[in-house]
Amino acid sequence: MSDKPLLEVRDLSTYFYTQDGIVKAVDGVSYAVDRGETIALVGESGCGKTVSALSILRLIPEPPGKIASGEILFDGIDILTLPKDRMLDIRGDRIAMIFQEPLTALNPVLTIGLQITEALERHRNMHGAVALEEAIRLLKIVGIPQPDQRVKDYPHQFSGGMRQRAMIALAISCEPELIIADEPTTVVDVTIQAQLLELIRGITEKLNTALILITHNLGIVARYAHRVYVMYAGHIIEHGSSQDIYHHPCHPYTRGLLASVPRLDEPRKTRLQPIEGQPPDLIQLPPGCAFGPRCPHVIDACRQAVPPMTEVSPGHYAACRLAVPDRKQS
């Protein structure tokens, strides 16, 4: 608490300038991650969770994208003002990324071994046999059988789960201080998902790595995240500890999301409670609160201005006019 966070994102706005208009994919988002902490960015597709994470690595394609405003401080370094080559030193070394779809994220014409040694050469000054040895060791850590053989394989020779393991090996190759995992298990099956997430958890705990977990799966978030940021239409609408978010959700969107998924540990409901309507068009956001048109509790004030973040209890914030500070009810 007392120390400065490892990563601090302040008021970040990332826009995409398209022919149809400006897509405000991320609009005034702030969050922070401490060393060794796991935070989750949760939300539906198009809510800006991936863009906000890609902005940290400055991987937003420009044009059409542009980081319009904001500040990203990583260990005191202002990432957005860094020259390109200094950024290359950080990317892959101190901040690593695990992508959603390993088949498109890995280079199909390079062997797995080469892709890992490439990072080791760039950042760790390891070469030849030493780097290869290290690559094999990393593949072994992530649980790839016969790593000394598989290191020569190409990505297409790996199964989906294996590829994601190789991605994890690549991400941890330089022992980063922060890993960004963008929907790391969306394309794999539930039993493999459990394997991979336990692997990631084990590694982050061992190396004291901070983790930003981007997912739409509320169950995964509950299992792994210390703190949760809920995003909707480019904004963070609620954040707090996972206990706060799951047991005392304040924003109607968070509540709606939690109520709409069936749960295995509860008696079966006869009917699910969906959130009515559709997520808004990011080019033409409704005035005021973006969730207003779908919100069951909407009042006139919601339509006039974007509701400010208010602290409902220590460390628990919600951007809703109806979220009044009060003691947690049990």
Partner: protein
Amino acid sequence: MKNEVIIEIKNLTKYFPLTSGLIRQKKVAELRAVDGVSFAIHRGETLGLVGESGCGKTTLGKCLLQLYRATSGQVLFDGKDLCQLSNKELRPLRRNLQLIFQDPYDSLDPRFTASDIIGEPMRIHNMHRTPAYQKRIDELINIVGLSPYMADRYPHEFSGGQRQRLGIARALALQPGFIVCDEPISALDVSIQAQIINLLDDLREKFGIAYLFISHDLAVVRHISDRVAVMYLGKLMEVADRDSLYESPLHPYTQALLSAVPIPDPTVEKKRNIIILKGEVPSPINPPSGCVFHPRCFKVYEPCPTTVPQLADIGGGHQVACLHYPNSWPKSE
């Protein structure tokens, strides 16, 4: 009671040949997508079919509808074995057997308007020259919760959830008694999924449709199904009533699947024991001997690698294929 069987499959297998050579293709191996599956679905009942990708769920659904012709086995519908019928003989029966696809983006013709899409099954069955045609389309648009002014729009003008509603309207057009829902919600956003599930629930109630609901989402399957079948590498591991399957899963694979599903509650998650399976799903080209699950099983013992367990009733309609249950041992003849 809904005791009348609407569709039954017996010992269904579907092998895909793997060939080599460009001109004279030789069969070099077989992919056993579905391997000896039997079950029955009753009128108005929903059977959930769960399993990991590549386990043969979708192939099984397509075999039921004769979109794939099974390698062997029977599909009994309306007293006829569909596998024996020609395509021409099948056509009138197809009215009763419909499909809702996983991907609402690929499964709608981008050049058709919404009403063209919904009306297509009726045009195929020559029902479009009646005044009832347009009326039926309007009715269907209403049933699935779309607005009448959307009838002339093209698929790209709809959101994912609305497209899935269109796909559902199309499946309903001919008033089928049985619909295969192949992962109907997995392409949709969380907040939209519940809308579609509720719609499917309503339609079943209103029209008494039986569903085969294929999904990998165990929580959703529990919500919508009356009975659930668990599939692994082309075979059924366990079939039971929803409540007995979820409350007392018998097969180690079912137990592992259920424990792997994260529950959206951090307090519950802290206390849970997760069973982590080793390894990955083996290839259906060269499935393991004996019980296909034995290389990953945490309860494996001596007979598993050599003896193939049979799906057998161990009481109360709870069927399981695991050698830990005496009934699953193959009967010596």
